[in-house]
Symmetry: C2
Subunit: 149 residues, 2 copies
């Protein structure tokens, strides 16, 4: 992968997120990349992020992966549209539909498409896949942080 | 607190969740209790669950706390209505609205009410508060696992 991950373009002061911040040594350090019109992130969660039943990922981590990947997708899409540096987005609203149990022990793929950019707001539609199995879908509204002067 | 936490009534084989399972030594071990018609959980996240900017909780953990507390609320409400033992619920759909940034370093309060019980499905409305500040709201649909024969 020769591309720079979107999260590695965040300003240093905005790179502390547990999910995706390169400056958070305790965190997951998720990395997202463009693949054509889709933004993609691959991640294999640790087995201790189990749901109630061992062998399956817990719902909170499913939401976490989708949320951080949506933030990166929104930031990259806005930067591309405006020809600006990648900014930082925070979540306004998150909706996840859990389609099938998400297995642990396999690499998961998150695929995201931007459905709307309106002012500082970007809407992102996502899928979480384990191999060919669609495990969850999401619709997430992200809002760009106003840069501090 | 003399009540037993709802999560401590889950069957041993369903108590491995990273968010709320007493059998997950790596996890948060959230505990939820009835307070009248509301179900309440209090938790102080570790500082490394930061969002992009230090000092605030990341969106994924906000969703995680709401999700696990909704599962407990649904399980307890169904058990109370049917006069049965507490079962185990999984998430069908989760919607979170992020109202204000959620601070780190303070105890957070999750308050939940059941708005509907229909068949095996329970709908839960939740608030996440930091002191008197409403930081997030959620609407979560939980579905009861069918017991294995």
């Amino acid at each position: 992968m020769n591309q720079t991950a979107i999260q590695d373009l965040y300003a240093d002061e905005h790179a502390h997120c547990f999910g995706c911040g390169r400056n958070n040594p305790h965190g997951l350090q998720l990395k997202s990349y463009w693949e054509g019109e889709e933004c993609v992130c691959r991640h294999t969660p640790q087995n201790y992020y189990s749901g109630g039943v061992p062998g399956f990922l817990y719902g909170g981590m499913i939401a976490s992966l989708l949320d951080c990947h949506a933030a990166a997708t929104a930031a990259a899409a806005m930067a591309r549209q405006k020809g600006e540096l990648v900014g930082r987005f925070v979540t306004a609203a998150l909706k996840v539909d859990f389609v099938k149990p998400t297995p642990l022990g396999v690499e998961l793929e998150l695929r995201a498409r931007v459905s709307e950019i309106k002012g500082r707001k970007v809407t992102v539609d996502l899928q979480l896949l384990a191999g060919a199995t669609l495990c969850a879908t999401a619709n997430i509204i992200m809002v760009q942080l106003v840069p501090t002067p």
